[in-house]
């Protein structure tokens, strides 16, 4: 078993770790770094619960090897709020009951943030397709879509954001 020594940036901090060749980034985050915000729902890239951002693109961290993260920049749910101040998406998810059990929520928030940074004014259809890889079994998606729309409106500075 050969270990890789990896130096990467996670939520702006430089992080070093050793990992087995077959360990995924998700395994590393959860088991080696204690960052359990990303969840494993399937391990096959079909549910999106492990979504993190790597070099500006969202990925399923279960489909990235830990060794691949060397020199990359990773953003996870743990870096989304600034101290006590929640990101508008987090706040609107909370206020709009866009979560029930909450297991899919970190992945959806990370994915939604990437969408709004790329497209500040997405249509309902664009939001639905962007988030199609993030399964939610509790909500039926309605309140999730509305929360993303409301956060987007607030982030665009529209005062009538609910």
């Amino acid at each position: 078993m050969t270990h890789s020594h990896v130096t990467t940036t996670i939520n702006g901090d430089t992080v070093d770790y050793l990992c087995d060749a077959e360990e995924t980034l998700l395994d590393v985050l959860r088991d080696r770094l204690g960052m359990t915000g990303a969840k494993e729902g399937c391990g096959t890239g079909d549910c999106g619960a492990c979504t993190v951002e790597m070099d500006g693109r969202i990925v399923c961290s279960c489909l990235v090897l830990g060794a691949e993260a060397d020199g990359r920049s990773i953003r996870t749910i743990e870096g989304m709020a600034k101290g006590e101040e929640l990101h508008p998406l987090q706040r609107h998810f909370l206020e709009g009951a866009a979560l029930q059990c909450g297991i899919c929520t970190p992945g959806i928030l990370v994915a939604a943030r990437a969408l709004l940074e790329k497209n500040p004014n997405p249509s309902e259809t664009e939001i639905r397709y962007w988030l199609a890889g993030n399964l939610c079994r509790c909500t039926g998606y309605d309140k999730i879509i509305r929360a993303v729309q409301n956060a987007a409106a607030e982030m665009r500075g529209e005062s009538n954001a609910a």
């Binding site: 969840k39 096959t44 549910c47 709020a81 009951a97 029930q100 199609a132 890889g133 509790c138 039926g140």
Partner: protein
């Protein structure tokens, strides 16, 4: 203390206005700890070896090579779960033990046969490959009708239908429900529709796989951390299966990433416990998604024969059902619930429903949201809409004409008290969605649904803190925001702000027994207990004020968070707030608390009516849901947005079941689609917004009129979608899911019938 039934209470200050939930910030920041998020020093990782056969005798298991692999610390098999008298006295628990670890025979693809604990998951996985199991493969059966047929492969040699007879069988139970003269009822009918329907097995599909961490100490006491709908259930089942004293096992419920009924039993917890006991180290066991699909409960699949008749002016005269449910490898398919709920929305003069509970070589079914009801409602609601079409009556009018009402006799026997079906039908009919014009290849479907709702054993403890804030301990895992509702009800009773109450899910060592979170019971039963605990605390608070003022206890009453003199004769004293009373609790008699323990009953049934507009691609058989409306009676919505969320989530699960979700088996009896890629739950882009309307017909069994809301919403969608497809295509889907290949074939085989 008798319950103060006051369902007409209208002046709620907190209830009905809940905005955010106490666990919310942790859940949007990734801090919340779910089943797999717990770690312990020195922890081992466990993996389970599972059967590659649908049905096979285990001739031998050789674990020696696995045990010799460096890093492997223990291997367990069925031999590590020996008999004990308490266990053997409980047939259900004996079956659960067999399901947790196969003994003698494996009964389905994915049945556990052995487990390994090792220093890391990789070593554990390697070790599984070194376990040698010698199987004698046996004939298998996965289809309900084939399992009932003479000569079918027999799963359990000792199984007898209803415990009677001499011949081995796969039919575990039969049931009959009904009243009235069914033959006479059909004679009175001008129109009769008779059809057979099938519905595939759907999985609960929670996104969080089962996970637990067990830790047994050298003195034989143990702890389990796990995601479950009922940690007291986990404690009791595990203790009995592992031969431990119940008080020596403490179970803490983690946050739970969805359950929907699928986490109301145990699968991996005793295995982790046995491995921890054997190694003396903490053992973490997390299922893969593949294991979740292969070895945890999907629902029963069903084959249902329905015959209903009505007069030409639309009165249902007779309703007859035969329900064949297969529930996997052990008895328990909810055909009884199917039989009781099938016609519960209507009041036919004569009704008869027969149910069969059948075992097959599939994973044992687990409860799934209104267990047994959706597949029965699919069949009945299809026939009801067909009858309405036959006599040219609007489907909602037809339902209104036959709707169960307060005081009518339910199809399962008893007379209904206050129920809200008519209100949902009327609201649905008046809703704008019901009159939006439809385009070509589009159809509108209506269906209603019923669920009993349950109460159950509940214990709640409420403690007033030194600053007047309140710590509430409940024993029912919060599966979708129930802590918020508990905070609201405690705050309402005490007359304090919502923010001043914190609710935790107490572990099994800290609180009295609580039944699992099931049957839509939590807001009802834990809520009821919370209200009563708060009232008990108020009594203590008033007593303290009485002591301070030197007046009799009954001369003090509680209002708006303060003790005040009960009347002009009690004396003139300024109000004592909860904060002031809490601050001097130590000097006035000690900590202030309220408790309540109850076996809650009287949950009050809930009804819903759904309307769906669907469009069919006639060339591919693909169905698009254009619009969806849910109207449901919530009794009293404590947290309206969460009630809406429950309704929407249930409906979408039903849409998935109707359109694409099913267990697919190959000819070897192996599950072909144990993953989210091919077990197709709805994704965000599959759906429109889901419109909701809450109706409030108060439940006389609850102080605030609350009814359970979690389950009813999955009952109507299967029938509603089928009715929309029938309206769009002129052909009636009788097989769910109505996947594109099925619908395309159906449209070809039965082109444009008149309906």
């Amino acid at each position: 203390m008798p319950l103060d039934h006051n369902p007409d209470k209208k002046d709620f200050k907190v209830v009905g206005h809940v905005k955010t939930r106490p666990d919310g910030v942790d859940k949007v920041t990734g801090r919340a700890k779910f089943g797999a998020d717990m770690f312990a020093p020195g922890m081992l990782h466990a993996k389970i070896l599972r059967s590659p056969h649908a049905h096979a005798r285990i001739k031998s298991i050789d674990t020696s090579k696995a045990e010799a692999l460096p890093g492997v610390k223990a291997v367990v098999t069925a031999a590590d779960f020996p008999d004990n008298p308490d266990l053997l006295a409980n047939e259900e628990l004996v079956n659960i033990r067999y399901n947790v670890m196969a003994r003698g025979k494996v009964l389905y693809d994915g049945h556990a046969v052995a487990a390994v604990a090792a220093v890391n998951p990789r070593v554990a996985r390697q070790a599984l490959k070194l376990i040698e199991v010698d199987y004698e493969v046996l004939p298998h059966v996965v289809d309900v009708e084939l399992a009932m047929a003479p000569g079918a492969p027999i799963l359990h040699e000792d199984l007898r239908t209803n415990g009677e007879g001499d011949e081995p069988t796969n039919v575990a139970r039969t049931i009959e429900i009904g009243h009235g003269d069914i033959d006479a009822g059909f004679k009175e009918a001008d129109f009769i529709v008779e059809r057979t329907f099938t519905a595939g097995a759907a999985h609960q599909g929670y996104i969080e796989p089962h996970a637990c961490l067990a830790n047994v100490s050298g003195d034989g006491s143990g702890e389990i951390w796990c995601c479950t709908q009922g940690h007291f259930m986990v404690r009791d089942f595990c203790a009995q299966i592992c031969g431990m004293e119940v008080s020596k096992l403490r179970v803490t419920a983690s946050e739970i990433g969805g359950g929907f009924g699928g986490k109301t039993t145990i699968f991996i917890e005793p295995v982790a416990l046995a491995l921890s006991r054997k190694t003396g180290r903490p053992v973490k066991l997390v299922m893969t998604r593949d294991e979740v699909f292969r070895a945890t409960g999907p629902t029963a699949s069903s084959s249902t024969h329905i015959k209903m008749g009505c007069t030409k002016d639309g009165v249902i005269t007779a309703a007859y059902a035969e329900l064949h449910y297969q529930g996997g490898a052990f008895p328990g398919a909810p055909s009884d619930m199917g039989a009781m709920t099938a016609f519960a929305c209507y009041q036919p003069k004569a009704v008869k429903a027969l149910g069969w509970d059948v075992v097959t070589n599939r994973p044992k079914q687990a409860a799934y949201r209104a267990p047994g009801a959706p597949m029965a409602a699919f069949a009945v609601e299809s026939v009801v809409s067909e009858l309405a079409a036959k006599i040219g009556m609007d489907p909602i009018d037809f339902r209104l004409k036959n709707a169960a009402t307060s005081g009518s006799r339910s199809s399962y026997g008893p007379t209904y008290s206050d129920i809200g079906l008519v209100e949902t039908l009327e609201a649905a009919k008046a809703h704008p969605n019901y009159s939006i014009p439809l385009g070509p290849n589009q159809g509108r479907g209506v269906a209603s649904g019923f669920w009993f709702n349950f109460g159950g054993q509940t214990a709640v403890s409420l403690n007033v803190n030194i600053d007047g804030s309140v710590a509430l301990s409940v024993g029912t895992p919060d599966i979708g925001g129930s802590r918020a509702s508990m905070c609201a009800m405690a705050a309402e009773e005490l007359g304090i702000p919502y923010e001043n109450v914190q609710t935790i899910i107490a572990d099994t060592g800290s609180l009295g027994y609580n039944d699992v979170t099931d049957g839509s019971r939590v807001t009802f039963a834990s809520g009821l207990a919370t209200i009563e605990a708060a009232r008990n605390a108020k009594k203590v608070l008033c007593a303290r004020a009485a002591k301070i003022w030197g007046i009799p206890e009954d001369a003090v009453k509680w209002e708006d968070g303060c003790a005040i003199p009960a009347g002009p004769n009690a004396g003139e004293f300024p109000p004592l707030s909860i904060k002031e009373l809490a601050a001097q609790a130590g000097e006035t008699g000690g900590p202030i608390a309220g408790h309540y323990e109850i076996s809650a009953d009287g949950a009050g049934p809930s009804f819903a009516t759904h309307i769906v507009d669907a469009e069919v691609d006639r060339e591919t058989g693909r169905i698009t849901i254009l619009r969806y409306l849910i109207v449901q009676d919530a009794g009293k919505a404590v947290s309206p947005t969460y009630v809406e969320g429950q309704m929407q989530g249930g409906a979408v699960q039903g849409i998935g079941w109707a359109l694409n979700e099913e267990y697919i088996y190959n000819d070897k009896g192996l599950l072909e689609n144990p993953g989210f890629l091919d077990y197709r739950i709805p994704v965000a882009s599959d759906l429109p917004m889901i419109d909701t309307q809450i109706v409030e017909v108060p439940n006389p069994g609850h102080p605030y009129g609350v009814r359970g809301v979690g389950e009813t919403s999955i009952v109507p969608p299967l029938g509603a979608v089928a009715n929309a497809v029938a309206a769009a295509t002129g052909t009636r889907p009788q097989e769910l899911p109505v996947s594109p290949p099925r619908l395309l074939k159906l449209m070809k085989d039965q082109p444009l019938a008149a309906e």
